[in-house]
């Protein structure tokens, strides 16, 4: 096995060089060497003089079934981790489109339909080890499910898109695999229909795991609602939901469609869930999570965030990577 620094040299002739460190220390050396040579690094995507792949940083470090926690190297793919966890009737409750690595989920803050019940990556992250551009290896958080000691750098790195450093190791909160799941699909005629159905669910005591609106302005829009739990409870919830908002049970094809629409989306917007109708009027086609106030749009959207927050984020980036190595 070639060391990371050798690989940087091996790759130096080609541009960009692809480097696959197998340990956290090797990853640190890759970054230090690149910085020393004045080369930029991008993590798991093109853009840098050096492309750092986490393909070999993919070990499962600790599985604690009784604690419902796992510690992993972040190059592991969701499918691989969840196959392993299924053996103990548990899961990492992230279902974004495709089969990203855990690190990509964290750095991109990626989630799927079940974000509704289980939260975003930041909500499932207990602790991290990060590698900064100067080779600093630092940990924050821990591996227990409750912990307020020190700054939560894990959350800070969620959504940082690889610009703050490499998220190398992560401790994660797991969930039990549900015994049963069923899907209700409701055809919708208009934005007002969609709003009415979403509000009825929101004000009800039903506990769906996912609510996705497959929106098409011209017609053919549908609302898909997922229930998970014990057989009896899922039956009861599906029945109650059908009485509340109508619709028919479906095998669950809608979720594949929802995920592929999300994957094909050109933009993402956040909106107040109460403002669903106004939001839908601006969109021809979108995959919308009405309970969360998130829409994946077929058209690109501009950055609507607060300028002060962007500036602050840039200050944090500059503090962690003053040389601008990570791109």
């Amino acid at each position: 096995m070639a060391s990371a620094s050798e690989e940087v040299l091996v790759g130096a002739g080609s541009h960009p060089a692809l480097v696959e460190p197998a340990t956290v220390d090797e990853a640190a050396r890759v970054l230090v060497n690149a910085a020393g040579e004045g080369r930029t690094v991008s993590i798991e995507r093109p853009g840098g003089d050096v492309v750092l792949s986490t393909a070999r940083l993919d070990r499962v470090l600790e599985l604690e079934a009784g604690d419902l926690t796992a510690s992993v190297e972040t190059g592991i793919r969701l499918s691989a981790l969840n196959r392993l966890l299924a053996g103990q009737r548990q899961m990492l409750a992230l279902d974004p489109p495709g089969d990203p690595t855990v690190g990509a989920c964290l750095a991109g803050n990626l989630s799927g339909p079940r974000r509704h019940r289980y939260g975003a990556p930041r909500d499932l992250l207990l602790g991290v080890t990060v590698v900064l551009a100067d080779g600093t290896v630092a940990s924050s958080g821990g591996k227990v499910v409750k912990n307020v000691a020190g700054y939560d750098l894990g959350k800070l790195f969620c959504g940082s898109e690889g610009r703050f450093g490499l998220i190398a190791r992560a401790s994660l909160r797991l969930h039990p695999l549900p015994a049963a799941e069923r899907t209700l699909v409701v055809p919708l005629g208009s934005a007002d229909d969609a709003f009415r159905a979403a509000q009825l669910l929101h004000h009800s005591t039903l506990v769906p795991s996912a609510i996705d609106l497959l929106w098409r302005k011209g017609g053919g829009s549908r609302l898909a609602v997922l229930f998970e739990g014990s057989e009896r409870a899922v039956d009861a919830q599906l029945g109650a939901a059908r009485e509340l908002i109508g619709g028919t049970e479906n095998g669950g094809d809608e979720w594949d469609e929802a995920r592929s629409r999300q994957a094909a989306a050109q933009g993402r917007i956040s909106f107040p869930p109460g403002g669903l109708v106004q939001t839908l009027h601006t969109l021809d086609e979108a995959l919308v999570r009405p309970g969360l106030g998130i829409a994946f749009t077929s058209e690109p959207v501009g950055d609507s965030g607060d300028a002060g927050a962007r500036l602050l984020g840039e200050r944090v980036r500059a503090a962690l990577d003053p040389g601008g190595v990570l791109v």
């Binding site: 009784g66 000691a149 020190g150 869930p273 927050a309």
Partner: protein, 484 residues
Amino acid sequence: MSLPEGLAASAAAVLGDDGVILEPEQLKTYECDGLTGYRVLPALVALPRSTADVQAIVRLCHEHRVPFVARGAGTGLSGGAVPVADGVVISLARMNRVVDVDLESGRVTVEPGVTNLDVSRAVAAAGFYYAPDPSSQQVCTIGGNVAENSGGAHCLKHGFTVTHVTALEVVLPDGELVYLGGKGLDPPGPDLMGLFIGSEGTLGIATRITLRVLRRPEAVRTLLAAFDETSDAGAAVSGVIAAGILAGAMEIMDRLTLEAAEAAVHPGYPDAGAILLVELDGNAVQVEDDAARVEEICRESGAVELRVATTDAERVLFWKGRKAAFAAMGRVSHDYYVQDGVVPRTRLPEVLDRIGQLEAEYGLRVGNVFHAGDGNLHPLVLYDRRNPGEPERAKELAEAILEICMDVGGALTGEHGIGTDKACRMPLMFSETDLETMMRVRRAFDPEGLCNPGKIFPTPRLCGEVPGPYRVHPLELAGLGERF
């Protein structure tokens, strides 16, 4: 009490004469928080009424390089709101308006001085509530909850403050205003809001907070199981988790705590070595299924008595003793020290044994009351300050418990925060590099170090030159594991 020339007058000009406190007698009210052992008199207390007021006083402090500490209700238990000598305290008590209730979005926007319980009150009529429920929820403020990332008994299922905040308006340490998050979730970019929540007032002052409120569940069922031994109750908790049941709360009280609770508030608990409270909430059928399974697991784990609360009144009685547990210790001991540590929940029985050994070793009693579902211990170390040497021994015992938490891969604090109290203990959990990396982030927010300095991070002035023995961080230790 030496404030820079003109600062007090400038503050009074902005906030009005009744918005500034300078008299030593009145300043004393602000010299400590809920952990009364740490006391420092500030030079000035500012009482802003608006975001603009907060910006003005922070700008003054920044201009004069005077440290400032934001303060909510002062119920914190880690000395996180202890003033800096000759510094300014910014009390958010007057900023106590509920700004906006948007039920269609499931959002409530408040000023930082609004109490935790008032958020639930604002939406109760519509059938909603605010989930985080620290024991001090009647008086503690949302601003303080944001600073500490407060939890409570029910955060096992529903998460902490950070899970329920969707937007923040923050006055940065130089007086600039930023808006983080929004009413919709997952805005693009790094999760600065997630970093800010739980940063113990060291990165700025939240002046407006948008919270997610939840629909009250269809059903709630609370089970009380009595055991001969605390470790049996611990085994039942492990059984419930292993069965894949997501309980709303799982709490254990041991014999000593039960005695105290009985003497103080008469909850009518069974005479037992320990009791376990399990609360299930959600869909009625799911709750019924889960409750049947929980009862089975408790019996299998050796429960000698099982009670089920089906009415709100019964439920309140079950919780009465638990919620009063800390205060009730006054019935069985002259003084007590509350520790707050976390262990992996599978290690609970072993950790309880080791705490028992410490009791014998130190000749002091420890009451164990804890959020068992998430491994968050609150050992109550009993002592009598009238006996020479006992306070010191109690503190040592409490520290020894923290070291056990570290040994088994746990955390220094689950919900009370590091504050002043545990800053010197941080090297037990984090390396110098870990802490320096956090400090880099802090300096990006607060280059001059004016915003609640002296908290979280160990300093030579506070801790002496020699940090405690560093144990390998749980994640690094996990990093030594084998490939599966």
